[in-house]
Symmetry: C2
Subunit: 478 residues, 2 copies
């Protein structure tokens, strides 16, 4: 086939100058990067286009590219810093993230206005134009390239790319966060809510992690644009194009985690983990409003209140990665997290026992060490695109640990039968789930843990890529 | 046909003892009461069942009934005061109202727990059982009575009534508030979200004010219960029953408002209204979080900022009815309303001109007097079942006043073409809409106002009743 271009705001590689003056780089980590690495391996000529972020990135961007780094060919896009700031800090992270996760307190916020429109046009749309130009340059002269756009920073790209590369290119956009229902989507100003939908319908495939999000997207197209959709087959017809709306639940590379779990760094952290008294209740999350961290501690407190026998018999380790500091809602949330932890520790702690260990730091080896050793893992997100923690932890855990899983996590669709599922808004239900998880009999624990492991192994990141590649081929053949 | 029974929590009549010791009563007012009065006129034997609220109501309740009052036959239901309090103040008003209107700040509230379950079982369900018993007594011995249940206080009644009166009775439940989409409904604890849906599917017709709510209900049944629904025809099959899901947009009695507008009380208030300087921008609302009162004042402030020529040329009269004082969210909202009004008045007011007149009182004659005289009416609700203010005001206004209407109001479906429509979250859009409304040329004003009047007259409260009666007949014939 013609060229394969992967596009995401964050790339796999950041360049910098070593002290010696030589160009060097670091490779990023995280779920999306792992996933797109797997996509990139599909074709020798795949190019991965992303935003230049460091000074040295800008030099690479100016040189054109693609630039080869190990097994990758990357191309970097330069943005005007103000445009990028508006896209990232005014539109993508506060506004789109909040709408997709249902985080607004609607009687009071948001307040949209001319500043929103300005940030949209001079920021978000501008950055998307830069990406479209870069993509067009990459596929120049090709008749039917494959262009895979990723995530909510690039919603305007399908339209802008299509205008440049024509109808024979295959274009998809993968949304890695939950898709909201029509009324939530309607919160957005008209130029965004209709603009984004119309742009997305310039793709050939619009992809999500769950069937529920795919259905919500189809409803949104129906309700907001008034288009007819074929919900049963997941098809929308728009502008003479057939748009397939599909779910491909993202996953992990189990072997990567199996390897990691034996690494020196993880083994070192395991000493700390094993020093914690009693059973281990674990959560590992970015400190985001959507993760439901405060209610998790409250529920744990209720559990200790109702089951005094558990006091001293469990430690709740919360491994929290700082996030989006400087945004007032996030700073307030971080404060509330610290307060509620203090409350629980004061109410139930003793000189020998601290009910909650709060670890606010970016410490991946410690997280993996904790994955190996938890008795119960709490994933109680209000809403979450997928939640890879649930999958990562399941494959390396050595204790048949029990997963407590929110109905609001994307992972719910695949993992619910291997988990204790909870309504993220019900504190007593979560309290009971924690108790049940910590006291579950061995046989049931093993059955559930086995099911989780099998489920993750039956849909790895390679399967995720393959399913998409199959559909691309089927789409081209149809 | 057999008997007709109307059931609503609030009734048309409250009894009390006059000083003379005689039993007397007062008739209630408001949109729903007017509407149900019209339903009641459909049959000479219609009985209207509602909760006893006063001491004298309790005496009436104990006597059995039905009790005749003018053209009505009423029957009152006695509740245990604690059960009623739990239903009303723990479930219906905070919890169901908030979910239906999307008022929760989900990262932080609600916190459901055992207290919720207790309030549900000992309060909400208990009150619904009382209603079901009262209804059963009313229709004893009848083979196919018609039982029309109204609103979100009675969600468990369809099932409880059906169990008592059997399959040949026609049972409907009318939801007078917006129906939320599946993800919002999922916020509720399982016993409520599934319990309510399963109960509602014991009705023959589930009715809403708009097609959008009816569609949202069908999606909710599909997503939450996993039932197949026939969305095109608005039909769900459940328990061997065909459940019709229908929209009947509620309306008003135009003649009632035409009469009112000439009444002494209204004419007196008109003197005050006419003394306000400049053009009249009006809002009339209960002080509810869903009404978007704060953003309305902010938008008005922005309008004055951007169009200095309007300063001194307009008065914004906000006629606000106090509501749900004592609920912390409502008290805080009332404070914020007062603050923002002060801000706007301080920023733009002069010794001769007060930009906002804030009138917090229950003064219906003044509202009607203002209806007659506004140049622009602001209805910018975040979400609103119907919003009858828009319809009432349209029929008595004498100035071809312009309606500014939120996309989130139920009235949007019928009235949007006669209004300037706004996204309730976009301040600048609302500011421009206010400016546009106040400066619109006469011909366009007249055209829009004519269209509004014709629309309201073409679907009065009598039409609303008739459409439902027709469907009841069609359902029985099918």
């Amino acid at each position: 086939m013609d060229g394969l271009v992967i596009v995401s705001n964050r790339g796999a590689v950041t360049f910098f100058r070593a002290e010696s003056g030589e160009r060097t780089y670091s490779r990023g980590a995280g779920g999306l990067v792992t996933a797109l690495n797997a996509v990139s391996r599909q074709s020798e000529n795949a190019v991965w286009v992303s935003s230049a972020t460091s000074d040295e990135d800008l030099s690479v961007a100016k040189e054109g590219g693609p630039y080869e780094v190990e097994d990758l060919r990357v191309s970097l896009v330069e943005h005007d810093p103000e445009a990028y700031d508006l896209m990232y800090n005014r539109i993508a992270n506060p506004l789109l993230w909040f709408v997709h996760h249902g985080l607004y307190n609607l009687p009071f916020s948001p307040d949209f206005g001319e500043d929103t429109k300005d940030a949209w046009e001079r920021g978000y749309v501008r950055v998307n134009e830069n990406f479209a130009e870069a993509v067009a340059k990459m596929v120049e002269g090709e008749e039917s390239p494959t262009i895979l756009l990723h995530d909510y920073q690039l919603y305007m790209a399908p339209k802008l790319v299509r205008e440049k590369v024509g109808g024979d290119a295959f274009v998809s956009l993968f949304v890695h966060i939950p898709w909201p229902e029509p009324d939530s989507w309607r919160v957005l100003p008209n130029y965004i809510r209709e603009g984004v939908l119309e742009s997305l319908l310039h793709a050939n495939v619009v992809a999500f992690h769950t069937n529920r999000y795919a259905r919500a997207f189809l409803s949104t197209v129906e309700e907001v644009l008034g288009f007819e959709v074929d919900a049963e087959n997941g098809v929308v017809r728009a502008g003479g194009r057939e748009v397939w709306v599909r779910a491909y639940p993202i996953s992990i590379d189990p072997s990567e985690f199996e390897e990691l779990s034996g690494s020196e760094a993880v083994l070192e952290e395991e000493e700390y983990i094993k020093s914690l008294p009693g059973k281990l209740l674990l959560r590992v999350d970015r400190m985001d409003l959507s993760k439901n961290i405060v209610r998790g501690f409250r529920a744990y407190g209720r559990m200790l209140e109702k089951h005094p026998g558990m006091r001293g018999e469990v430690t709740f380790l919360a491994q929290l990665q700082p996030s989006r500091g400087g945004i007032p809602e996030y700073d307030a949330y971080a404060d509330e997290i610290r307060e509620v932890v203090e409350e629980v520790n004061e109410a139930y702690g003793t000189s020998e026992w601290k009910p909650v260990e709060l670890s606010i730091e970016d410490n991946f080896p410690r997280s993996v060490a904790a994955y190996k050793n938890y008795d119960a893992l709490l994933v109680n997100a209000v809403r979450d695109g997928m939640n890879l923690v649930a999958k990562e932890a399941a494959v390396v855990n050595e204790k048949d640990g029990v997963l407590i899983l929110s109905e609001g996590a994307g992972a719910y669709e695949e993992l619910k039968d291997g988990a204790i599922t909870v309504n993220p808004f019900d504190l007593d239900e979560q309290a009971e789930a924690i108790y049940e998880a910590l006291t579950m009999l061995e046989e049931e624990r093993r059955e559930k843990a086995d099911l989780l492991r099998r489920t993750v192994h039956s849909n790895t990141i390679e399967d995720w890529v393959e399913a998409q590649m199959k559909d691309i081929a089927a789409y081209r053949r149809r």
